[in-house]
Symmetry: C2
Subunit: 365 residues, 2 copies
């Protein structure tokens, strides 16, 4: 059915080995035969069989990316970046979804290595350290976003301490003194690191840490809802909330909406990691960008480096940090300034009273 190297060789009246050498461009064939074979191969529509080649060379030209899910916008971006980069090098990306579940991660890892992937970028659950460590002997691995403390794998991390610091400082500079923090579980690196950045910014500003303003929880929207309620119900509620647990954002938005809390007038809101709709939201939501695109690019760089180095790509560096940056939009307001009194333009066919509107206006003047 399909054209094999043998067919090409026969058509050109040379041996398979010559054909192979000519087509792979080893420089071991004469200029003339090389061109002739290239032409014939093209005419016949020959396409090398990666499976056969892989059997011999031990390579598959497959690189896997194992993430927790595709719901998280960061992972989407990363997947697209990785796919684009790899494609340019004629690798195929194997995108796998591990669901942040150790068992599933373990199964997937096994399958992947069976398939003789040439490289792996993984967001580890942290529960399969030994396995990862063992696999790393066979295939280049780079960890992404999370570190697996049980291994000494090269890891590309977001600079969470800095990101949380930047965000918190931004709020402080806007005059906020009581800043609520909703953050991830404290048994994860990112959870701990973001808390530490928050604390550092407070300390630098001479604000004493108030633990009632801190809510840590699982990576689900409910965490945001309960955390937000808890914060709002305090006798002295915060004037700003920093949602440093990405998945919790939805919960926070819902609670503020339910309670008719105007953002940023009643409450400033700063979130961690972007979502595609954040800038379409009214008010557009300010964020700390963890640099998903940069993270992915760096991870690919490091992986390729290791793949080329064939087992000794140890440059000594074990951990890379990608800087976070603040993206100011409209959800945080200067605290000491009076509540904005810009002109509302109700030229829309608004039949309802002014008492309800579906969103506050942009905070920018």
């Amino acid at each position: 059915m399909t054209v094999t190297l043998k067919d090409v060789a026969q058509a050109a009246r040379v041996s398979v080995s010559t054909a192979s050498r000519a087509l792979t461009g080893t420089g071991l064939t004469s200029e003339r035969t090389q061109q002739r074979l290239t032409r014939i191969a093209r005419e016949l529509g020959y396409r090398p069989n990666p499976i056969a080649r892989g059997l011999k060379t031990g390579q598959s030209r497959l690189v896997a990316l194992l993430v927790h899910n595709l719901t998280n916008a960061s992972f989407q971006v990363m997947a697209e970046v990785v796919q684009a980069r790899l494609k340019a090098l004629s690798y195929q990306m194997l995108l796998c979804i591990g669901g942040d579940d150790p068992q599933q991660e373990s199964d997937t890892l096994t399958t992947l290595v069976d398939h003789r992937i040439d490289g792996l970028i993984v967001v580890p659950t942290g529960k399969n350290g030994p396995q990862l460590k063992a696999l790393a002997k066979d295939v280049p691995i780079v960890c992404l976003v999370r570190r697996d403390d049980a291994t000494d794998l090269e890891t590309v991390l977001a600079d969470d301490p800095q990101g949380a610091y930047l965000g918190t400082r931004h709020l402080i500079e806007l005059g906020h003194k009581r800043i609520g923090l909703i953050v991830g579980r404290q048994d994860t690196t990112s959870g701990r690191e973001r808390l530490s950045g928050y604390v550092r910014a407070l300390r630098e500003a001479g604000i004493t840490r108030d633990d009632t303003l801190i809510h840590a929880g699982h990576f689900v929207p409910e965490t945001g809802a309960t955390g937000c309620r808890k914060l709002l119900d305090l006798s002295r509620p915060p004037s700003a909330i920093f949602v440093a647990n990405h998945e919790a954002t939805l919960g926070v938005l819902r609670v503020t909406a339910e309670r008719n809390i105007a953002i940023p007038d009643d409450l400033s809101l700063l979130c961690y990691e972007d979502m595609p709709w954040f800038e379409w939201h009214r008010p557009a939501i300010s964020i700390v960008d963890n640099g998903a695109r940069d993270l992915a690019n760096l991870a690919v760089d490091r992986l390729l480096h290791r793949m080329e180095a064939k087992g000794n790509g140890n440059d000594g560096v074990r951990e890379y940090r990608v800087g976070a940056r603040l993206i100011k939009r409209d959800s945080c307001r200067q605290l000491d300034a009076p509540v904005s009194t810009r002109s509302t333009k109700p030229k829309s066919p608004s039949k309802s009273s002014a008492a309800k509107s579906s969103a506050s206006k942009p905070a920018k003047v």
Copy 2:
């Protein structure tokens, strides 16, 4: 490095062929040797090499899913479903992102077939019909969500005419007579079909179609924004907008927010396809669910069927439709009923005047 079948055979003092037969369970070996080999293989940690096996059997145990992007929530769901289903059958999913770009689609298809995938589920751009047709001779293919008219490939489609009909009828039943429609490009199947469903519902209700209420455009948020503005600026603006172009939803939401239009009090809003945050949004957004989960499951069913049938899985059926369904949440209101006057509970630390709130309250009583 890794354990091969040969190693297992040697350890068991049998030939490779016997080892192979015992481990693959062909029933051609004695019970005893089979068990013995299974045990030894396990002890040695033997894992068959899919590449070598694939070379001989012509199978790769790789099934590809080619979608446009991962931003679309439907595609996310589909990817997760496909991955889960395939995994249970020990296939690996190759998730590829085509970007709705014909060139990229074409390249990707070539690569995939080179890798000897065992099956393919593809959301076609519609511009690579000939290629798809040719590939279909070598590998089972099922089209998903979109049809490629240049082929006669088996296709699993959402029932867009019905979905749009259901949605429109819902709005009509709520008393709406002027219903704006923001829909996709009319050179796509889904764009045309959704428009037709909308028109049918109007006709059935005896409402004459008003083309000024219809806005068709590209699959980007901007389409929603311009469409929404256009509709709102009409001398007789609609009382409800049906956003049947998924990507346009963000634009519509932004414009309504900017203009302080309360949903559903001032304007009812119905969208097509879910997004994870729709039910967290205030008001929770009613949608027509295209059944992404069902679509993906059916596509997998059909693909597996064809893969097993080995080239003659032609059951005569060429097109499958998966029913859409309406999910009522809080963004559509009964038109003739008075604007809701439920008690607002501003127990939140609202320092701002009542004139602004970040969202309207839930519409449900």
